[in-house]
C-alpha cells in the first residue's frame, strides 16, 4: 500500500464525516458509566478526549490524561467488537404452528454498514479469530456473515498499554499488522495514517491527505515500539497446549476455584469466546416459537449438563475447561490460541484472577506479572 499520510488532529471530524458520507454507521470508543464502550460516534467530540484508563486485576478507572486533546488515550474497555458481529442475542428463525405440524420462517438481521474507528491490534486479531470460527468452518453462520459483510476497520496502533495488556506475548500487537482498511498512530498534533485496502486508499484520496514527513513517521514508529517495550505483563506460551493437557489433575485448579465466582464475566468480555445457547421461546398462545442464539458461558452450571448428568459440576472443572480451551485445545481447533492478550478477563474479573499468573503457577514458576 502507499506511503503513510498525515491526518491533522483537527481533521479527525473530516474522516468521520467521510465514513458517514459513504453510508457507514461509525462506532468508536465512547465514555459511558465510568467505562469505555464501542458505540456510535457522530463527531470526534464523542470520543473520550483527554481521558486515560488505569487498569489492574479487578479494577478499572478513567481519569484525565496528560494531553487534553488525545482521542485514543483509553486502551480498551469491557466491550470488545464481538457483540457487533456475534450478537449477544440473534433471532434465527420463527416456527409457526400449522395443524399438527409447523412452518419455518427464516429471520435475518438488519445489519448496518459499520465503520469501526479505533480498533486495536488485539481487537483485529480477535475479529480474525471469530471470522475463522463462524465463517471458515463447514457450517458458515449466515447471521454472522450478514453482520460482517460490509465493515470498514480503522485501526489505532497502541502507543500505551494498560497494566493488564499482554499482546506482545500473544504476538497480536501493539501494532496492527493486517486486517485493517486504515491504521492510525496518534501523535500530539496529527495522526500518521497507513492504508491497508483499496477502500482505505480511496478514503485518504477523498480526504486529500498529504504524505507524512519522515520525522513524524519515525515518531509514530517509536511510540508503538515503546509501548511494546514497556508492556509488563507476560504469558509464556511455549508448549501451552501440551502443558495444559498434562496438568488436568493439578492442585492449582482447586486453588483458583477458591477465588473464581463462576460469574461468567471473563467469557462475556472475552473478544473470542464463542459459546452460545440455542434458545427457543414460544409465545403464550403457542402459535409461534422464535429460535435464537444467545451468548452462553462454560462457567454456567448448565453448560455441560445433559439429562441426569453434569460433566463439569464444580467451579474447579469449569475454570479448568475455560483455561484449557482458551490457551490449549483452541490451537488444535482453530490453528491459533484463543487468547489475543487484551487483558479484559483480568480487569473485569471481580476477584482479579489473572490467567497469566494461573499459567505461571501451573508451570511451577514464580508469578510473571509486572
Amino acid at each position: 500500500m502507499s506511503a503513510p499520510r498525515l491526518l491533522p488532529t483537527a481533521r479527525l471530524d473530516a474522516l468521520i464525516a467521510a465514513l458517514r458520507g459513504r453510508g457507514y454507521t461509525v462506532i468508536g470508543p465512547t465514555e459511558r458509566d465510568g467505562g469505555v464502550v464501542f458505540a456510535e460516534v457522530a463527531a470526534a467530540a464523542d470520543l473520550p478526549r483527554g481521558r486515560r484508563d488505569a487498569q489492574a486485576p479487578g479494577r478499572y478507572r478513567l481519569a484525565a490524561g496528560a494531553a487534553a486533546g488525545e482521542a485514543f488515550g483509553v486502551v480498551n474497555g469491557a466491550g470488545s467488537l464481538k457483540p457487533f458481529f456475534f450478537a449477544a442475542e440473534e433471532p434465527l428463525l420463527a416456527l409457526h404452528r400449522r395443524g399438527r405440524g409447523f412452518a419455518v420462517e427464516p429471520l435475518a438481521p438488519a445489519a448496518p454498514k459499520l465503520a469501526v474507528l479505533g480498533a486495536r491490534a488485539c481487537d483485529l486479531a480477535a475479529l480474525a479469530m471469530q471470522d475463522r470460527i463462524f465463517l471458515r468452518g463447514p457450517h458458515p453462520d449466515a447471521h454472522y456473515a450478514a453482520r460482517r459483510a460490509d465493515v470498514l476497520l480503522i485501526a489505532v496502533h497502541c502507543t500505551r498499554a494498560a497494566d493488564t495488556c499482554f499482546c506482545v506475548s500473544m504476538r497480536t500487537g501493539p501494532r496492527a499488522e493486517r486486517g485493517f482498511d486504515l491504521a492510525l498512530t496518534e501523535l500530539p498534533d496529527a495522526f500518521v495514517v497507513e492504508t491497508g485496502s483499496a477502500a482505505g486508499e480511496s478514503l485518504v484520496a477523498e480526504l486529500g491527505l498529504a504524505s507524512a514527513d519522515a520525522a513524524r513517521r519515525d515518531d509514530a514508529q517509536q511510540r508503538v515500539a515503546d509501548c511494546a517495550g514497556h508492556m509488563g505483563r507476560r504469558l509464556a506460551t511455549r508448549d501451552l497446549p501440551a502443558l495444559l493437557a498434562a496438568r488436568q489433575g493439578d492442585a492449582q485448579w482447586a486453588d483458583v476455584a477458591q477465588r473464581c465466582l463462576s460469574c461468567t464475566s471473563c467469557t462475556m468480555v472475552c473478544p473470542t469466546c464463542f459459546c452460545h445457547a440455542v434458545v427457543d421461546r414460544t409465545a403464550l398462545d403457542g402459535a409461534t416459537t422464535e429460535r435464537s442464539r444467545c451468548w452462553d458461558s462454560c462457567f454456567s452450571h448448565a453448560h455441560a449438563h445433559i439429562a441426569g448428568k453434569n460433566f463439569r459440576p464444580t467451579v474447579r472443572e469449569r475454570y479448568r475447561m475455560w483455561l484449557t480451551h482458551k490457551l490449549g485445545t483452541w490451537v488444535e481447533q482453530f490453528g491459533d490460541s484463543g487468547c489475543v492478550g487484551c487483558g479484559r478477563c483480568i480487569t473485569w474479573c471481580p476477584t482479579g484472577i489473572d490467567l497469566t499468573a494461573e499459567v505461571a503457577a501451573l508451570r511451577g514458576e514464580p508469578e510473571a506479572g509486572p
Binding site: L92, L93, L95, R97, G99, R100, G101, F102, V104, P106, I133, F134, G137, P138, H139, D141, A142, H143, A245, Q248, G249, F274, C275, H276, A277, V278, D280, T282, G286, T289, R291, R293, D296, C298, A302, H303, A304, H305, I306, A307, G308, K309, F311, R312, E317, R320, M321, H325, G328, T329, E332, Q333
Partner: protein, 275 residues
C-alpha cells in the same frame, strides 16, 4: 439458511419398547428432502418437540433404507418426556444427520466386541442389528452388557435371541444382582477375562463415560489397539454443527467429530472428565 433450521417429518410408526422407551419411525414430509437424505449408522438427528425443545438422538435403523429412519427415545428429561407422547401422524422437527457414526465398514471381516452399560444402549443396538443382517461379512461377535440391577435389563428377549446366533456370544452382568438374576455379577470390566481378543478385534462401546474409560483402559491392557476401540460420547449437543461449544471433550466438538470417537483421541480427556 441457518444451520439451525428445522425440517418437518411425520411419525409413521411407533413401537413401545418399555413404558419409558419407544422407537419412532420418521419420514420427511418434503419429497425432495426424503430422496436426498442419507445417514450413517451412529450419526444423530436433532429432534424437536414444538414449543418444548430439541435434543440429539442417534439413528438406529439401517442406513440402506434412508427414506425413513428410526429413533429410540428414552424418557430422561423435560423434552423426551413430551416426545414419549408423540403419536403416529404427528409432524415433528428434524435436522441432521450430524456427526461421525460407527466404523461398521472398517469392522468388516474383523472380530467385533460390543460393550454397553446402563440404559443408554440404543446406539449399539443399531450396530448389532446391522451386523446380523450381514452376518457373513463379520467375524466373531461378542456382546457385553452391564446393568446395575435386574430391573435395569431392558430387551432381555433381544439379548437371549442374539445369544442363539452362530459365532456370537452374549455376556450379561449386574452390579447388584438379586435372586432372579441368572447371568454374571459385577461390573462389565470384570467379564473381560472371558473375552476372546484377536489381532483383528475391534471394539465399539456406549454407556456412561466412566464405564467406557475403565473398559477401554482394560481392553487396551489386554492388547486391543487404542485406535481399534471406539466410544460413543453423549455430551450437551445444542447446535450439532461445531459452533456452540457445549459438547467439547478436550479439543473435540463431539457433535461433529463424534459422537463416535476412537479412544486414542479422547483418552486423556475422558480420564479428566468422565463421570
Amino acid at each position: 439458511m441457518t444451520p439451525y433450521a428445522l425440517h418437518p417429518a411425520r411419525i409413521v410408526a411407533r413401537h413401545d419398547d418399555t413404558p419409558t422407551i419407544a422407537t419412532f419411525t420418521l419420514r420427511f414430509t418434503d419429497a425432495a428432502r426424503r430422496r436426498a437424505y442419507r445417514f450413517a449408522l451412529g450419526q444423530f438427528n436433532m429432534l424437536y418437540a414444538y414449543g418444548v425443545g430439541e435434543v440429539p438422538i442417534s439413528i438406529v435403523s439401517d442406513p440402506e433404507q434412508p427414506q425413513h429412519f428410526d429413533h429410540t427415545i428414552r424418557r430422561a428429561g423435560r423434552v423426551t418426556t413430551v416426545m414419549l407422547a408423540w403419536r403416529v401422524g404427528d409432524v415433528v422437527g428434524v435436522r441432521g444427520p450430524y456427526g461421525v457414526g460407527w466404523p461398521v465398514e472398517a469392522a468388516r471381516g474383523r472380530d467385533v466386541i460390543i460393550v454397553t452399560g446402563g440404559l443408554g444402549c440404543a446406539p449399539v443396538v443399531g450396530v448389532i442389528n446391522y451386523i446380523f443382517r450381514r452376518r457373513d461379512a463379520y467375524g466373531d461377535l461378542q456382546i457385553v452388557h452391564g446393568v446395575r440391577t435386574a430391573n435395569d435389563l431392558l430387551y432381555r428377549e433381544r439379548f437371549d435371541a442374539w445369544r442363539d446366533h452362530p459365532r456370537t456370544r452374549v455376556y450379561l452382568t449386574a452390579d447388584q444382582p438379586d435372586r432372579t438374576w441368572r447371568y454374571y455379577s459385577g461390573v462389565v470390566t470384570e467379564l473381560f477375562d472371558e473375552l476372546a481378543i484377536t489381532p483383528s478385534t475391534i471394539v465399539m462401546m456406549c454407556g456412561p463415560e466412566v464405564m467406557m474409560h475403565h473398559a477401554a483402559r482394560l481392553l487396551g491392557a489386554k492388547g486391543v489397539a487404542a485406535d481399534a476401540i471406539f466410544v460413543s460420547v453423549e455430551r450437551n449437543m445444542q447446535c450439532a454443527v461445531g459452533l456452540c461449544g457445549h459438547c467439547q471433550l478436550g479439543p473435540h466438538f463431539t457433535c461433529t467429530q463424534g459422537p463416535v470417537l476412537p479412544w486414542s483421541a479422547v483418552r486423556p480427556w475422558l480420564a479428566a472428565e468422565a463421570r
